[in-house]
Subunit: 431 residues, 2 copies
């Protein structure tokens, strides 16, 4: 098939009519599918069944050091839970605080704390006229939501397959002391599935920000979330904690991790990984916010996974479910859109998303078109601060939740929507 | 025995010497007991064993409406969990949001939100020069900690057996629009075990604060925590939500409850109860802070307790353990200190504490003395904002955690400490 832009007006009109018939046909199948979020499928959750009842007797409820996990206390998390999360991040347990079920809450509270009380003895952000964050785009909507909630001014930084444009990051943080942070999903990034290169990580670790209270918000959400078992098809990310230490910038980064997509999105455990000084500040806040997070759930995770081998084994099982879904979507995209010049997409080795870039000005219309046929996708623009994609081009595809059958149909609806909207766009340009 | 103040100097010196011998004797028993917090005893926690494993198969993990509680979603809590907490508070479920394991976090986040974004469209508190809270004293140290963390100026309001001094509360909130809140533990108050009278609750509901964004922080921590099964020995608290509605002030109050001392302190569920407008504001914040709290744990509670009858049955069992402990302490106090004029104490029908008022200037010394013999009590002053008890008189006794045997010894240590410190005080006055 020729690229659409090389077709004549007549060819396009004929094609459009054909595609419209096809679209009406798939619309008639009455799909009602929400593919908007990166939700694990029920089949993945079923795999952690052993976690559910692993504590079922009173005598099961005690930590290794004898702590009664049912009662109050242990602000920074059970030692064995800290060790498990530390092993996942390849750091020592004293660099880890284990929280409740949501790393998003740790990020939110970290920003909230910076506003209320400041960071490293600097002026609380709520007392400043301007607080800015760098936002690699496309990125994760909930990150941008947190900073938007607090009135932070967000500055787009383009993503590349190596990570954010580091020339721009270095320049901006060096010259503007109102830039206080940057949102990063460094491994299998949301939505592109890119992993930051070693050089990018090292440049992050060596940043020299004008603001003393500038911090990297390193959301390592997909740290063990590979699609392939073969080592050579797994991305490798440098250890940012170690790199920051080596660079003499130990306090520069907050790393966030969770088991949301290892055990359960609704009932996992989450952790903050950082330097001693940063954890000390976090503890000051926690000390007033809570007596202790749910230790029974921390203990469940430790008893069930035991160690990194346990976690890796679980993730291999997850991959066996995720991989065919990603491959289905990628195959449909390749077969149906390859060579047409109306879209490009990422081909990740892990994570939860495929990023699709439509022709400029088409993303919103494509998402609306798919919705007509019962397919809800992530809102166009959601991958940018303030929901404003300057090119109206990026669409996040989240293949994890649907069944393979639903996914095949959803793929069809999506490519038809892309084709129809793109034809209109090209026809419009001809007028 | 005569009151100590009526004894001669010689009698006091002789008595002191006798008591010192006794003190050395109990000190020799090598007690190492922490009675500083209101922690349930292991025997109480054992009673909820059925809760632990009530969800152990994949098919158990679904809510009544089919929601997969393992996955993301349901920001405001499972409908059946909202109903359970609503029934406890005698309100409709639409007035309830169910959170994670800590009502303290809901309170903290409510204050945090008021600072960051303001309340009811008013200026965010972080932009104000003065933010003040009224603090009925003695009160709960962690409440005062939250407001201290955010730099709130705290104003003491004396407690009475009917609740806070309402003449003062009414006057202060009417004349000072920088007063934004008041901390209340309205039932079996911490530490005195007082329950606000109907008249007090109605006066709260009818408050006319100068600040539109003034809110009552109604921490109903001991809502079903009676010591006695007989109805006539249970305190009854008016429903503040209902009273505020009746008074035309539906948005005046935030009520906080939890199952921390029903199921588990470390792994219970907590709720915010308030008007539609107030919950809407809370949801705005939650919407950015978290995707959803731990629904599996909410479901465990619903499956285990089923309804208020289930909760009441559990609380009757708790009372059977708590009651003899309270009675032991009260008996030691009465037998050893009754009529001596060196202390007075509350005799609550529920809750977790007994409040002891020593002679002025003696509380810190008594707590230090008890510590000498291995008994750690709540720090003197902790029941006041900034840890400053102006009379250095109030001591919080927390009888729940020790075994009955430990408690008997602890009681002995405490009364000896009171006697010795009081004699020194009286002798000092004689000089």
């Amino acid at each position: 098939m020729k690229p659409y832009t090389e077709l004549t007006k007549e060819e396009l009109i004929a094609l459009k009519s054909e595609l419209e018939t096809e679209f009406e046909d798939v619309k008639g199948k009455g799909l009602n599918l929400n593919m908007s979020r990166g939700k694990p499928a029920a089949a993945q959750l079923d795999m952690a069944e052993g976690l559910l009842g692993i504590i079922s007797k009173n005598e099961d409820a005690f930590a290794e050091d004898g702590t009664d996990c049912r009662n109050y206390g242990v602000l920074t998390g059970l030692p064995e839970a800290r060790k498990l999360m530390a092993d996942m991040c390849e750091v020592s347990p004293d660099k880890v605080i284990v929280y409740g079920n949501a790393s998003l809450s740790i990020m939110f509270d970290t920003v909230s704390r910076s506003f209320a009380r400041g960071v490293a003895g600097c002026t609380p952000w709520c007392k400043l006229d301007h607080v800015k964050f760098l936002c690699p785009v496309p990125g994760y909507d909930r990150h941008f939501g947190v900073t938007e909630y607090f009135g932070v001014e967000m500055i787009n930084v383009p993503m590349t397959p190596e990570g954010p444009d580091m020339d721009l990051v270095e320049k901006l943080v060096a010259e503007d002391d109102s830039i206080k942070g940057i949102w990063c999903v460094p491994k299998y990034s949301n939505p592109q599935g890119y992993t930051y290169s070693d050089e990018t990580v090292r440049r992050f670790a060596r940043l020299q920000p004008a603001a003393k209270d500038f911090r990297i918000f390193w959301d390592n959400a997909y740290i063990v979330h590979h699609l392939y078992d073969e080592e050579e098809r797994q991305d490798h990310l440098l250890n940012i904690i170690e790199e920051c230490e080596k660079a003499g910038n130990p306090d520069l980064v907050y790393e966030f991790v969770s088991t949301s997509k290892i055990s359960y999105p609704g009932a996992g455990i989450a952790a903050l990984v950082s330097s001693k000084a940063n954890l000390e500040e976090a503890k000051q806040y926690m000390n007033f916010q809570i007596i202790g997070h749910d230790k029974l759930n921390q203990l469940r995770h430790v008893k069930y996974y035991k160690d990194m081998d346990g976690i890796k084994a679980q993730m291999t099982k997850h991959a066996s479910i995720m991989r065919p879904k990603f491959e289905t979507v990628l195959q449909v995209l390749e077969e149906e859109l390859g060579g047409l010049g109306i879209g490009s997409w990422s081909k990740p080795n892990g994570g939860y998303f495929i990023s699709f870039d439509a022709m400029e000005g088409c993303a919103k219309k494509i998402v609306a078109k798919a919705k007509e046929a019962g397919l809800t996708m992530t809102g166009a623009g959601a991958t940018f601060p303030y929901h404003k994609d300057p090119k109206d081009s990026n669409i996040r595809i989240a293949p994890s939740f649907p069944t393979p059958e639903e996914l095949a149909l959803a793929g069809k609806i999506f490519v038809l929507s892309v084709k129809l909207v793109s034809i209109d766009r090209i026809l419009g340009d001809m007028e």
